[in-house]
């Protein structure tokens, strides 16, 4: 009995210390998205590319492909940090990346791409942020991996890092098609 009297508070202390220590490792800014596992919200937006001549982009254009939707803006500092990673990923050709230019000035956005390189197959212009709301965007950059059926499989909040590409994005990509001539 006397032993329990001392052991119980000690056990409680250890448990509390463990929980607090675990709490330090959690990032309160990372809110799990309710959209993972749900169909990507539909939209139709004009393209950023000059001379696109009224062309537009819809997620349904990408049916049958696994692709990334990357929300970016020229005013976003963290986007600059992740940009080389996206350029590298686009160069490797494993996954098409579509940009969603979020609440940006088209001129500034085009200038930004000209200066830092353009990893995007296309960039859709979300001038008023309405599509951003539909996708639950609250901090640029954000990246969605959308599968061949148009379902969101993964969402990255904050910059995509080489580690995220290797550990979270690549495992979700379909195996690379065989190289060389096929009969």
């Amino acid at each position: 009995m006397i032993r329990l009297r001392y052991a119980a508070p000690l056990a409680a202390l250890v448990l509390l210390a463990f929980l607090l220590w675990r709490g330090l490792a959690l990032d309160p800014r990372e809110v799990p998205s309710p959209l993972v596992g749900k169909p990507a919200p539909a939209f139709t937006l004009p393209l950023l590319e000059s001379g696109a001549g009224g062309k537009s982009f819809s997620p349904s254009d990408m049916r049958g492909k696994v692709w990334l939707l990357n929300v970016w803006a020229s005013w976003c500092v963290a986007c600059r940090e992740e940009h080389p990673v996206l350029v590298e990923l686009a160069k490797s050709g494993v996954v098409p990346i579509v940009g969603l230019n979020y609440k940006d000035e088209p001129e500034a956005a085009r200038g930004w791409l000209a200066r830092f390189g353009n990893p995007y197959m296309k960039s859709a212009v979300d001038a008023d942020g309405k599509v951003g709301i539909d996708y639950g965007v609250y901090g640029v950059p954000e990246t969605y991996l959308i599968d061949a059926e148009g379902v969101i499989r993964f969402k990255q909040i904050g910059p995509v890092t080489p580690r995220i590409v290797e550990e979270r994005i690549r495992p979700l990509l379909p195996p690379a098609p065989p190289k060389g001539p096929t009969s």
Partner: protein, 139 residues
């Protein structure tokens, strides 16, 4: 005739004004229930973050479209998750959040009750050996 028209006009304007007022109050009440995800400890009503401004506009538009409060809140939770509501709904994941404090209180009360009950119990009468030892110590 003219007075009737003027009167009717005033009444109509007054009702329109009251409706506006009511809508604004509803929008404000809703915005105070929702968390701004950019600056997480502020409500959408208090925050000046661009996203909070956009979401306030969204609330205004949906109220004007005749959406109910519940529809507007589910519009928000569908996109941003339950984290956006300051008063999380009661379900399996939030059970501990809602009931935890009461469970802890009950646990503490149980311990306190046992301690007090233990103290109140009269001490067991001394055995002969103990009595002798006590006498020796006192002498």
């Amino acid at each position: 005739m003219r007075t009737t028209a003027a009167l009717l006009c005033t009444v109509l304007m007054a009702t329109a004004h009251a409706a506006d007022h009511e809508e604004a109050a509803r929008a404000r009440a809703l915005a105070e229930e929702l968390r701004c995800l950019v600056c997480q400890n502020q409500t959408i009503a208090d925050s000046h973050a661009p996203l909070a401004v956009d979401l306030r506009k969204q609330i205004d538009r949906q109220i004007a479209d005749g959406k109910s409060d519940r529809e507007i809140v589910s519009y928000m939770t569908d996109r941003y998750g339950e984290f956006i509501v300051y008063r999380p709904p009661f379900n399996a994941t939030t059970f501990l959040l809602w009931c935890g404090p009461f469970l802890l209180l009950a646990f503490g009360a149980l311990i306190a009750w046992r301690v007090v009950a233990g103290r109140r119990r009269a001490p067991a009468p001394l055995s002969d050996a103990e009595r002798q030892r006590a006498r020796r110590l006192l002498e």
